[in-house]
């Protein structure tokens, strides 16, 4: 029977199939693009109405120290949240970066076989543990520990940063490991041939060459820490003030949104102000993406 089908139809079928495939995949990509445009539009339209409709001063929101949206008169100073977000995520990166770089050097330069077989799965598992579980551990281990050792309730920036540092460790390690693994062998061999020790090679050749990529990992980690919501919210204490010590209760952009968004009426100034916080979070995401792109452009690999 097959021979009786005219050649032309068969050719047409192929054409149709090809066309369907192309249209389908294009639609999928368009869906992605449309999603992000819709996200930016929706978040920005709500976030900006704080300034245009409710006439809150931009500088008051960014620099003001007092957050009492239900007070009279209400004030919308979000600086404590911005400060909390930056301090926890930068501290977390400071704790996690040396650990993750050491881990990746261990995996690639010192014991490649053991590293790949053992440490890599460990890192992947750390990445897979859900953030609420990290929050729960922080709440039941780190916070009581800090309460015993340091003055205060144990809730605060230090607890938040510590929980975050464990959460971003896998992100940083994965990026650093990829960077070290893609380093051409010739560079290292040249260094060894000159009589350098392994540490000299790592310190003088491997790290300087891969530095932009290592920094990419650090920035991605900071970005993740900055956007993390629930784990931080559970251990930071959520007081809308700029903390005077690491062990004093503080708050972040994400934790403020998480706690209040459900309790405010849509369209109210309080609600819009929370959307402004979300907009700051979104803008920071763009900033992080552009820093990562810039670093990748500088990479010599």
């Amino acid at each position: 029977m097959a021979q009786t089908i005219p050649k032309k139809t068969a050719g047409n079928n192929h054409f149709v199939e090809e066309w369907v495939g192309k249209v389908y995949t294009t639609l999928c990509v368009l869906f992605l693009v449309a999603t992000i445009i819709a996200m930016v539009y929706f978040v920005a339209s709500r976030g900006l109405s704080t300034f245009f409709k409710d006439h809150v001063n931009v500088f008051e929101l960014l620099g003001g120290l007092k957050w009492s949206p239900e007070g009279s008169p209400p004030s919308f100073g979000a600086f404590p949240f911005i400060f909390g977000s930056f301090s926890t995520s930068l501290l977390a990166a400071l704790l996690a970066a040396p650990l993750s770089i050491c881990a990746s050097i261990f995996m690639i330069e010192i014991t490649p076989k053991f590293g790949r077989k053992f440490l890599q799965p460990v890192i992947e598992l750390l990445a897979g543990i859900p953030s609420v579980v990290y929050g729960f551990i922080g709440l039941s281990v780190i916070v009581p520990l800090f309460r015993d050792i340091f003055p205060g309730q144990g809730l605060g920036v230090a607890a938040g940063a510590l929980v975050l540092s464990i959460m971003i460790l896998p992100t940083m390690t994965t990026v650093a490991t990829d960077a070290l693994a893609s380093l051409p062998a010739g560079l290292k061999e040249g260094s060894y041939a000159l009589g350098a020790t392994r540490w000299q090679t790592i310190y003088r050749v491997v790290i300087p060459t891969t530095l932009p990529a290592l920094m990419t990992g650090v920035v991605l980690g900071i970005a993740r820490a900055f956007g993390e919501a629930l784990a931080v919210q559970m251990v930071i204490g959520n007081a809308p003030f700029v903390p005077r010590s690491l062990f004093e209760s503080a708050s972040t952009l994400t934790s403020a949104i998480t706690l209040s968004m459900g309790n405010t009426a849509a369209g109210s100034t309080h609600n819009n102000a929370l959307w402004s916080l979300a907009m700051i979070l979104m803008l920071m995401t763009f900033v992080f993406v552009f820093i990562v792109r810039w670093l990748e452009g500088r990479s010599k690999l």
Binding site: L125, V132, V133, S140, T285
Partner: protein, 295 residues
């Protein structure tokens, strides 16, 4: 100091750090399992939670998590694979392609809470889905798509060029080459990546607070009509997942045994993530062996 001594010290420090990370994971897992396993029982896994009395379970939450996972994957996988194929096979180097790459990158680094808020505004309010499983699944789709796209792209890129060219040289169309030659070879990577992505969906909570909601209606597990409001299969009912439940009882738990429930639920969550991880590894390796001639 002699360079050799410095070398030894540095090596020792690095090994210590690596050992510390391993100990950290063992400590974390040990803590969760030791605290939680004692509380896990058949009735804990199947019974409904109690608000004010002790002895509540996590049955509906566990079911919601699994059902939401299935819903999300049904939506994510076809779109993600489609977009991945486009990025790997159809996209030509141009300004537009660069822009799409940027979009995928930005989307993958958006905080999940922003995705949740977007879901609240667009799906829950604007499209009128209300707090529902469907809204939650769509939000998680947005959250998971970049990952899926990257996995597919990676899988397709790993196909040897000769194999692709041989297929094209036989006169197969591009689409046929992709679907019947390249996708089967890329499948092990795609499948294991998908399972890992599913593990992430399972533990995600921030995006769900504002889309799937923080409460579950009383479910009737004998009613399997998806249009009935008490049916577990109804995609338009609100649903609290396991991860959201852990968060909720930690921040506002009123039951006297809230800490134990959180510990038990955390252990269940971690065990599920471990299972997803092992399954991904095993299935990836199994399929790789089956589809290629390697031993």
């Amino acid at each position: 100091m002699k360079p050799k001594t410095v070398d030894k010290i540095a090596t020792a420090v690095i090994i210590c750090v690596a050992a510390f990370i391993v100990l950290l994971l063992i400590g974390l897992l040990g803590f969760i399992l030791v605290r939680g396993l004692g509380h896990i029982s058949f009735s804990f896994l199947t019974s409904a939670p109690e608000s004010f009395r002790a002895g509540g379970g996590i049955g509906p939450q566990l079911f919601n998590s699994l059902f939401l996972l299935v819903l999300t994957m049904i939506i994510t996988v076809p779109i993600g694979i489609g977009a991945g194929i486009y990025m790997s096979e159809y996209a030509k180097p141009s300004k537009l392609t660069d822009f799409i790459r940027l979009v995928v990158e930005v989307l993958s680094s958006f905080p999940s809470i922003i995705v949740g808020l977007f879901g609240l505004l667009m799906l829950v309010n604007y499209l009128g889905l209300g707090f529902s499983l469907l809204a939650g699944a769509l939000a998680l789709t947005v959250f998971n798509l970049p990952l899926m796209v990257r996995i597919t792209e990676q899988g397709l890129k790993s196909v040897p060029r000769e194999q692709k060219e041989a297929s094209l040289a036989l006169g197969l169309t591009k689409w046929k080459t992709i679907t019947s030659t390249m996708l089967p070879i890329a499948l092990p990577i795609i499948v294991s990546g998908t399972i890992l992505a599913a593990g992430r969906v399972f533990g995600e909570a921030a995006a769900l607070l504002f889309t799937a909601g923080m409460s579950s209606p009383k479910l009737d597990f004998s009613d399997w009509n998806p249009f009935s409001p008490v049916s577990p299969l109804n995609p338009l009912r609100p649903a609290e997942t396991l991860a959201v439940h852990i968060w909720k009882i930690n921040s506002e738990g009123l039951a006297p045994d809230a800490a134990e429930i959180a510990a038990g639920a955390s252990a269940v969550l971690v065990i599920m993530v471990l299972l997803f991880n092992l399954l991904a590894r095993w299935l990836g390796r199994f399929m790789y062996r089956k589809f290629t001639a390697t031993k």
